[in-house]
Symmetry: D2
Subunit: 262 residues, 4 copies
Amino acid sequence: MRDVQSGPAQVALPIDRVGVKNLRLPLLVRDRVNGNQHTVADVDIGADLPAHFKGTHMSRFVEALDSWSEDLDYKSVQRLLNDVRARLEAERAFVTFRFPFFLAKQAPATGSPAIMSYDCRLTGEIGPEDNGRPRFLLQVDVPVMTVCPCSKAISDEGAHSQRALVRIQARFAGFTWLEELVDIADAAGSSPVYTLLKREDEKFVTESAFANPTFVEDVVRSVAQALAAHPQTTWFRVEVESFESIHNHSAFAVIEQRIERA
Amino acid sequence: MRDVQSGPAQVALPIDRVGVKNLRLPLLVRDRVNGNQHTVADVDIGADLPAHFKGTHMSRFVEALDSWSEDLDYKSVQRLLNDVRARLEAERAFVTFRFPFFLAKQAPATGSPAIMSYDCRLTGEIGPEDNGRPRFLLQVDVPVMTVCPCSKAISDEGAHSQRALVRIQARFAGFTWLEELVDIADAAGSSPVYTLLKREDEKFVTESAFANPTFVEDVVRSVAQALAAHPQTTWFRVEVESFESIHNHSAFAVIEQRIERA
Amino acid sequence: MRDVQSGPAQVALPIDRVGVKNLRLPLLVRDRVNGNQHTVADVDIGADLPAHFKGTHMSRFVEALDSWSEDLDYKSVQRLLNDVRARLEAERAFVTFRFPFFLAKQAPATGSPAIMSYDCRLTGEIGPEDNGRPRFLLQVDVPVMTVCPCSKAISDEGAHSQRALVRIQARFAGFTWLEELVDIADAAGSSPVYTLLKREDEKFVTESAFANPTFVEDVVRSVAQALAAHPQTTWFRVEVESFESIHNHSAFAVIEQRIERA
Amino acid sequence: MRDVQSGPAQVALPIDRVGVKNLRLPLLVRDRVNGNQHTVADVDIGADLPAHFKGTHMSRFVEALDSWSEDLDYKSVQRLLNDVRARLEAERAFVTFRFPFFLAKQAPATGSPAIMSYDCRLTGEIGPEDNGRPRFLLQVDVPVMTVCPCSKAISDEGAHSQRALVRIQARFAGFTWLEELVDIADAAGSSPVYTLLKREDEKFVTESAFANPTFVEDVVRSVAQALAAHPQTTWFRVEVESFESIHNHSAFAVIEQRIERA
């Protein structure tokens, strides 16, 4: 049967990335308390393509994922990327997993536990310059609460508050738990948010958030400061988006930083 | 050239609705202040199909929309629906327009004007039982602010607030402005939301919202009461969804009601 | 501490549904081959509220879900709904789970297996008229391939094809596997779609789809016929949406039917 | 009234970007045939913030947009960006407009005209190094049709086809029409897509697409070649995503390139 893909390209340009997108799979993810947890992922996976090949063999990406079928950690992603390079005869490979990550979180006054979920993304990439050690990029979205400092200062009573989303993207020199990034974001808003709050907890959250008003500018700076102080970070980008309760639009702030490590 | 669509169906079942979806068009919509306004719409349009025809001529829906090309009002939608019935030799026709609607709104203290936008939807339907007079369903999404009455009552200071969305769907016996529905929703939350608020306005909104705390239950009941009192309503459904600032999930409430008019 | 929710409502209207939305949870779902499977769900859960209560105790819905924490089947949802009614002192309760469902599917020529995922939704409702036996509504989205019969008939060579989505919603008199609904949809298009196709499989799919061209009207009628013939169906609604490859809009068709069972 | 924003920051870090997001506005956009057209836009707008200020005055972004209120072209965006820098006392400013763009397109055989819409994005940025001349980034999404060359070569009859999306992002040394980018993408797939096709047109599209099969790799290379040959391009990134009709996932390919101009 003809192998059209291996024929010559009409336009002889190298392609940076070619692959498949939005494949959904069950996934096991490592977790600090239970060892690992079941979740589901949307996966993008690809490789580069030299100028002289007409096409990639797309089914090989699916075969690589299928024969991988293991839990998500740095070692297993390294194996997957090397497998993709071998199957596709490619110099570069990458993979991105987007998945919800679950954490039990205790209410601040009663201690009642309930499950929170966080949208996460892990990207691994490898090329000839990486000496077999892939580069990783971790992303986590953490909802927090913000109370507006301006509204509090100028009003006789009250202050508007809202849900805000802290998106952390970071590269690390060594292993880092997703949970550490959630903790950093949780500490930066006016208050963390919770799945289950009894009346005592709601009182606690309201009062402590009111005592600690934050602009998106304050939140993005606190997260940036904590990430810069983290022993493993080599690069990060933080974006905070606040779904303003007095407007129908968002306020946002972004800090991106590279950190040189000796 | 063969007309496959007019051939016999393999499975001789009548089809309730067949047509095209997600056609995007520029649109003129009537507006109380300026007469009309330019916006854009996503359109679904369709008809019924008797059991004995294999298929519909989908291009005729596009032709009907194309030759319509006028501003959106009750008369013009009536013409469009009758045109669809004629072109498709159908008993029933329907069309749905989804579009943003713009309103200039003044800040509550300084009076500074700025544009708000509201997601709207108009559906028109006609069948043999309608005697040539289509039935209409109007939908509008109005963001408002809610301050939590429980949080305010139990906390020493402050109260959590958030953006909430009021979705009104309604049928009317006679012409009704979209603006009337926006006004009804705006009056039901702890405060309306605005695009532009100067410091004096932010103080005003914060204090008046704090003085008027509302659960989603309060908001949905106020809107329901106002819609039931509106002289033209024959049916409505209201859903209020509050994007809780202390949780990562929403609270919601729904009331649906038919109103008999003599 | 004050219980504001139990106080009197300002507007004494009963509320049809009040509750929480978009809570994300890990979930176990029953599956025909493996017994059960791990997935994740977005959950909406609620109850009715009489005219005289100001508000619902939203945290009780979260507690009900939390203490439920079991696998999704008819018995467990029944327990959950009754628990919600008891905790909230409500007459009616409902819950909706939206989740991806995974099935291993073999390629049609080589038999190579790979995982497909299907968006599903299960809604359970109970009220005083149900004698303790909840009503269920099952929804599944099945992607299929359609080859256009008109394009094939009028063209010297080829025919345009595209991905289409079959959305089945149905109520049943007794237990029905999600897998049965996937099979019904898969049999109705020009061809099923697959996650992994080797060259021999791609040849098979192309040729068998080309030999079996289908309009959205054909697909919706085939699915309707199969659902009406299913021994357990009491009601269904099928919508097929075809993401036309020659247009930037979709074609769609809908059939809804109630089936009387003696 | 206190100006909290002008107070000192607790964490003295400069912020790269701070502003508002997802403001929706009516907009006039330039168009080659009619001079301009009405559409609607979602706008993000922001500036940098030095380390010593606690917060930005968010309402000033809204005022800048409000007093701008003109049609979108390079000059007007330059004025807007300079106005933002002045109002916010900022060194850097940026703005992004996301909007649908409408083009009348004639069917290939009958010449019947109908409106197509394209999702577009224009970003303008200015900083101290730009000497008052902002940098622009233009993005346009163009749906096309792809017929699979492998499926055609190995099958006795037929070949699977599907809708694909060509996303062009580009920077230019001088004025370039959005229409030029649409033309480049339209020429690169197996066939353009159309809003209105009569039977003769459908025959034409089917046969010409079948005679011109393309992988995503072919499409991305053709677009890249055309953009590199365009007299004004200084940088581009092209991504083609094909919504495979035989799978439930996409195939994709990306080329990014900088072009040095003397």
